[in-house]
Structure formats: C-alpha cells, structure tokens
C-alpha cells in the first residue's frame, strides 16, 4: 500500500562523504532481502548513481521525461541486472535545474510510492535548491558524514535544516572510519561526532579500498564482495533500518583485538 512506503533522503551537506555509495549498497541490501526498492538520483547536475550501479548504458528515459509525461514511469525505471527487486530512476538533464520545483519531486516520489516499499533519494551535496527539492519529497533522512571536522560541521547545518522542515526520524551513518587512526586519536572519535550532532547512530562503515574498485567496476560491494569490511557494515545498516538490533562494531577493538592482529598476520606477505 502506498502509505506503507518509506521515503528516505540520504544527504550529508559535504560532498564526497559516501552518500551515493551508501544509496547503492543499501538499495542492493534491501532488495536482496525481498523488499521492492527504488533508488532515485536527485543530483541532476552531477549524476553518479547510475555509474555506481553499473546501469549507465541501460538508461533510455529519465525523471525528466516522466515529469514531462513523454513516457510512463515504468519505461524510465531501470531494473538492476542481478537484483530484480531494485530499480533505478535516473536523473534527468542538468537543464532540469532551471525549472524543477519541490512539487515536481513530490510528484515523482508519489508515483514511486505506489510501486515500492522503499524509496531511497540520493541527495546532491550542498544546501541549495537541489537539496531543498529533494527534502520536500522526503519523510525520513539518513545523514552521512565522516569523522572529520568539516564534514561534521556541514552535517550539523543539514540536520538543523531537516529539523526545521519536520523530517523525522533523522539518523546518522558514520562513513570512512579508520580504526587505527581513531585509536591513535588522529581522527575524531565516534563520541566526538555524536556529541555534536546529537543523532542516533544507524551504523558506521569502515574505510575500505574495495569501494574504489567496486565503483570503477559498477558493482556495489554488497552485490559480490559481501565479505569485505565495508560490505558487512552496509548489510548491518540495512538490517538496522528495518528495526533489527545489531550491536555496533567498536572500531577500537577492530584495530587492536586478537582477531584483527591474526588477520593482519595472515595478510602480510612473507616474501
């Protein structure tokens, strides 16, 4: 039923913190659990979501044609090659920025709500029109940030804006966590971040080189490399989003525990 659909905005303020990667991986994880999920790329100026999902060459129609009623919604939706529960609504032409209004976004999301249980909106960076339009159509939000001062400062601004626009619940995902740096106090600790932002922590994602590889290949981590550290984090986030109570990894344990030491020993090259 349309009223049961969860429309979640994935935003951050700062660019490059991992919104699109989270949207792609979360989409795959939810779809894999049997939930019909739509991901919407709301960044019309610099669109990336189709690249990350490897669906760039399958795009025929975009959100623009849907709004101009040149095509039906299901003609524009691109189903994922391997996860059929996941569909992408590609971003339109950058010229759309000139005329797109919050009402247009609301129209698209209303159409998506009829067919899907989850609608994930990949928000553009910044707090300008793109963000405002995307926010107008959302019910909940996930704020993505890095344990780094400028990212946290920008996230704080965004949370303030989400609060004055009555978006709730708002949850936090801490991305690109490097346990070793946290242990050496070279990176902000989780408490440092949650103290300022005062949001419940939906999950944290460890820094993982595999993310770069997966982006270049157009295959999100949670699709094929489920054992990489970041993929496990994304999977946990998907489960927590549905209410499962999974304890958070303690990054300090990750870097110093016996298990971690053993793993590192096994990975060291001897010759």
């Amino acid at each position: 039923m349309a009223t049961d659909t969860r429309v979640i905005l994935i935003c951050s303020g700062k660019g490059g913190v991992g919104k699109t990667t989270l949207t792609a991986n979360l989409g795959i994880s939810l779809a894999r659990q049997g939930l019909s999920t739509a991901v919407l790329d709301a960044d019309f100026g610099l669109r990336n979501l189709d690249l990350l999902l490897g669906l760039e060459n399958r795009i025929v129609y975009t959100a623009q044609e849907v709004l101009e009623e040149e095509c039906r919604l299901d003609q524009a939706l691109v189903k994922h090659k391997q996860e059929s529960n996941l569909s992408l609504l590609p971003a339109g032409n950058p010229r759309m920025l000139d005329w797109l209004k919050p009402d247009d976004m609301q129209r698209i999301v209303d159409m998506l709500k009829e067919q899907f249980k989850y609608v994930l909106i990949d928000c553009p960076a910044g707090v300008e029109d793109g963000f405002k339009n995307a926010m107008a159509a959302s019910q909940e939000a996930i704020v993505v940030t890095n344990p780094e001062v400028s990212a946290v400062r920008d996230a704080d601004r965004v949370i303030g804006l989400l609060n004055t626009n009555a978006i709730k619940p708002v949850q936090l995902v801490l991305n690109r966590v490097r346990p070793k740096m946290m242990a050496n106090q070279e990176m902000l600790s989780i408490d440092d971040v949650t103290d300022i932002l005062a949001l419940p922590l939906l999950g944290l994602v460890l820094e993982d080189e595999e993310v770069i590889v997966s982006t270049n290949r157009g295959e999100p981590l949670t699709l094929n490399s489920v054992n990489s550290p970041a993929a496990k984090c994304y999977l946990n986030i998907a489960k927590r989003l549905q209410g499962e109570d999974i304890p958070l990894i303690d990054p300090l344990e990750e870097s110093s525990g016996f298990g971690a030491k053993f793993r590192r020993l096994m990975q060291t090259k001897i010759f």
């Binding site: 400062r153 920008d154 704080d156 601004r157 949370i159 303030g160 804006l161 609060n163 004055t164 626009n165 009555a166 300022i196 005062a198």
Partner: protein, 194 residues
Amino acid sequence: MYLKNELEKIKSVNLEIDCKNLDLSCTNLLELIDIANEYNCKIISFCSSSSNTIVSSQSLGYMSHFIIENRSKNKFKIHDNTLIFPKTHFHQGTVRSGEYLYIPGNLLILGDVNPGAFVSAEENIIIWGRLLGIAHAGSKGNSQAKISALQLRPVQIRIADKVARGPKEKPQLGLAEQARIHSEEIIISPLDSI
C-alpha cells in the same frame, strides 16, 4: 485557505500579518510567506501576542511587533525598536551550525551552541550546555554583560565591542566558566555567581 481568498482580492501589496496568539514556528511562517509570494504580495512584518512567534519571525529576519492586550481589551502595538519582551528569553534545544539568534534582553539556552552557530543578546547570555560556537553579549554596547556556560570553549566570544578567541586548552570537567570584560579585555574565570 482564508489567507488565499483575502490575497486574491489585494494582489501585489506589502503586507503585515497579524498572527494573534498562535505559536508559529519558522516552518509555519515560511508557508505563509510562500502563499503570499504566490499572489505577488510581500510580507514586511509579523505581529503577534505570542513571543514564540516573534522569535521565529525575528530569526527569519522579519520586523516583528509584539501585541499586548490589557484588561480593558485595548491593544497596544509595540514597535520592533522598543520591543518590550520578557527580560530573559528561554531557548530550549541545541543551536546548530548556521543558525543565528538575535535577542533583546537576556538569553538562556538549555542545550549546546554548536560550532558554526551564532547567538547574540543585548544583555547577558547563559548557556546550560556547551558554548562551542560564537556568542555576543551586550550586542548594543553593554560592556557589563557576561557570558556563562557549563563548558566555555567558543570559536569566538564577543562582549559589547570587544572580540576574543576561545581558549585552546581542554576544559576541566564540571567547571562552569564565565566571560566578562575586565580592564578593557575579555577574561574568562570560573563561575562563582551569576
């Protein structure tokens, strides 16, 4: 709906909106502004007998008029410049980055002032929480004004026309501090009495 009907009759006009005693948030006021804009009307001020509405409209940058109804049901409209407010404003909740508060009178905040936030009061500022952003007390020139917080580690602190950077050292747990002007400089000392 009522507003839309009225506005249809008087397009392209400057408006002052009387909010009576409704408590309106910034979001509510922005909705009113949007409706007015649709009819080419520009809102130049809000008036209300609710201080919450006045605070919202001030934080959006609009002129505000406080209405007091006295016993004989005569209404006095008090103009922005001489706004007689309850002497101390109470703000509940954290002031986040990018948020600006300009208050006549004293300001009491129950919550933190995050880095990137700016709070300003004509009299004293008391923060029952952490001051990590910028606070300006005595904004109209009162150099007797003081700023107190449970944890005083601001980006910048201003009293009247003096400016100072916040201390670099980590704060002592449980030590509330106060900033005031002494011999033409801003000094920070433990809070002995408010």
